[in-house]
Amino acid sequence: MLEITPLHYSVLSAALFMIGVIGVLVRRNIIIIFMSIELILNAVNINLVALSDQLQNLIGQVFVVFVIAVAAAEAAVGLGIIIAFYRNKETVNIDEMSLMRW
């Protein structure tokens, strides 16, 4: 049987990170973009836990707790901002954000 090592988790994390980045760049719905950002943060978490296991020290896991807490705070504020935007514009499409362009 193939043993699953921390390296496998790091590869998973890198894949998740790429999916998140591509999601942010190509999707047009604000909520989906936001979800892609959460994917990136979770890629970070997986990476930190895997590295923490590999290095046999706990700092990485402590870091993860902080990342989760901050992601929750950010989600609360972010969804509030998106609702304020939706109330005015009745849309969550990023192409409608065209008041300011250079």
Binding site: I40, F63, I81
Partner: protein, 490 residues
């Protein structure tokens, strides 16, 4: 008393931060007990900043770490904290009349300004990746809300959404870089990282960490090609918030950048020098050229602030004590001229005029001569004309680059300064030689007069007598360098 390795000294050295936290909470509390007393809340907020600043001043000359080595209380941190407190105080002063005109609640606004300042303080003090990141987020989340503070305004909404999405995205990139750096070095302490990197070979993982960290920080300081959020957010956010964002947030991000790269990744200096040299050149050039075409003052100042991030990056590239001194001096100088320029734009906001277009500047000299003369000074300083502070800042930055053999970088910087004069002087032409714009009287209350006076005095004083600033910065830059050498020796 000591529990868990903490002592009273830990809390003593955190007093400025604790006072800010208390003051911020007090603002919310007082707003519940005596509602709709904007002047009272303003007094509390300003008082909090002043008391915090006084306590901070008493720490001069201290060089220690607290909270089990997670926070450094050294000259470098104090220098930056002074920048944050002064810029927060000036922002509050210009906000009071602005909030009345906009008719938005004051309590949460002052609370968020204080929270943003608190986050910045931790960004300057943090010597651990986790502390730095928590400080960064405390500041950023406060700014997301502040950018969208004018809820009925479509522009403000849009600014908040854009800032939030790109801010969170850049945070993800920065954190991924941090996680890789942790994987390579096995610690999140900056001194530990410096130690681990000192003898290490360059690996692919390390290169990825370096690039991701540089990109993440590039977003925060609004360096090209990560600058796209800046003009939109600066234009849409309430003007005093824009002022604080462009000065406080930028200074805090530079503090964090210097901590991570100079203190933590000193062993990789030649590698990140290349990255930042490239960023500096494109940032200056794109910022200045894009600023020429703008017709909105806030947008123009946004591009100008992008260009100034490029000049400061030159100091970072020089990567010597002199380069760091130059960056520090430039950030102080930039505080006065940029906040002053935004104060004038804020003043133009009246109940019947939005006042952020270039044409609203027309005939300002006839309507408010004092403000027009002050604006002339800020524009000359931003353009780098002697005897203003902006000139001294540029001389020092370019000097540091030449010192280190980056002569081409200094040449690009000088050419860019020349380009920038065009759009700064265009504002002057509008103010002095155009017909008066429509709209009601421009009122200049005592708060606004104070802001402009401080900004003008700072701009002139550091232009004529820059030694005052240089000596301070010189003493301070050593504390960043000292921790680098001490880490290498361990």
């Amino acid at each position: 008393m000591e529990a868990l390795g903490y002592s009273a000294a830990d809390f003593y050295y955190l007093l400025p931060e604790l006072i800010l936290t208390g003051g911020a909470l007090l603002v919310l509390l007082v707003n519940i007990i005596v509602p709709r007393r904007g002047d009272l809340l303003f007094g509390i907020s300003l008082g909090t900043l002043v008391v915090s600043g006084l306590v901070l001043a008493s720490f001069a000359g201290v060089d220690t770490t607290v909270s089990r080595g997670l926070l450094a209380i050294d000259g470098f941190a104090l220098f930056f904290k002074a920048i944050f407190l002064v810029s927060a105080a000036l922002t509050l002063l210009m906000s009071a009349p602005y909030l009345r005109v906009e008719g938005v609640p004051a309590a949460e606004y002052y609370f968020l300004i204080l929270c943003a300042a608190l986050g910045m303080m931790f960004m300057a003090s943090g010597v651990d990746l986790i502390t730095l990141f928590i400080g960064l987020e405390t500041m950023a989340i406060a700014f997301y809300v502040l950018a969208g503070y004018l809820k009925p305004s479509h522009k403000s909404n849009e600014a908040a959404v854009k800032y939030f999405l790109l801010g969170a995205f850049s945070l993800g990139i920065l954190l991924y870089g941090m996680s890789l750096l942790y994987g390579v070095t096995g610690t999140t302490r900056l001194d530990g990282i410096a130690e681990a990197l000192a003898g290490q070979d360059r690996s692919l993982l390390l290169a990825a960490a370096l690039i991701l960290l540089a990109a993440g920080m590039g977003f925060k300081i609004a360096a090209v090609p990560f600058h796209m959020w800046a003009p939109d957010v600066y234009e849409g956010a309430p003007t005093p918030v824009t002022a604080f964002l462009s000065v406080g947030s930028k200074a805090a991000s530079f503090a964090m950048l210097l901590r991570i790269f100079v203190e933590g990744m000193g062993a990789l200096t030649p590698d990140w020098q290349v990255i930042f040299a490239f960023l500096a050149v494109v940032t200056m050039t794109v910022g200045n050229i894009a600023a020429i075409t703008q017709s909105n003052m806030k947008r123009m100042l946004a591009y100008s602030s992008i260009a100034h991030a490029g000049y400061i990056l030159i100091g970072v590239v020089a990567a010597t004590e002199r380069g760091v001194v130059a960056a520090l001096v430039y950030l102080w100088v930039y505080l006065f001229m940029q906040l002053g320029a935004f104060a004038v734009v804020t003043m133009l906001r009246r109940h019947d005029v939005v006042g952020d277009e270039l044409k609203d500047m027309s005939g300002l000299f006839a309507r408010a001569p004092a403000a027009a003369v002050a604006m002339l000074l800020f524009m000359l300083s931003l353009g780098g004309i002697p005897p203003t502070a902006g000139f001294m800042g540029k001389v020092w930055v370019f000097g540091a680059a030449i010192d280190q053999g980056f002569i081409w970088l200094a040449v690009v910087g000088v050419i860019n300064s020349a380009i920038s004069l065009y759009y700064y002087l265009r504002v002057v032409v509008f103010m002095f030689f155009k017909e008066e714009a429509a709209g009601s009287e421009i009122a200049m209350g005592p708060a606004m007069v104070t802001t402009l006076t401080v900004a003008v005095v700072g701009t002139i004083l550091f232009g004529i007598y820059p030694q005052l600033l240089f000596e301070q910065a010189q003493a301070v830059a050593g504390s960043l360098g000292a921790s680098v050498t001490s880490a290498a020796l361990q």
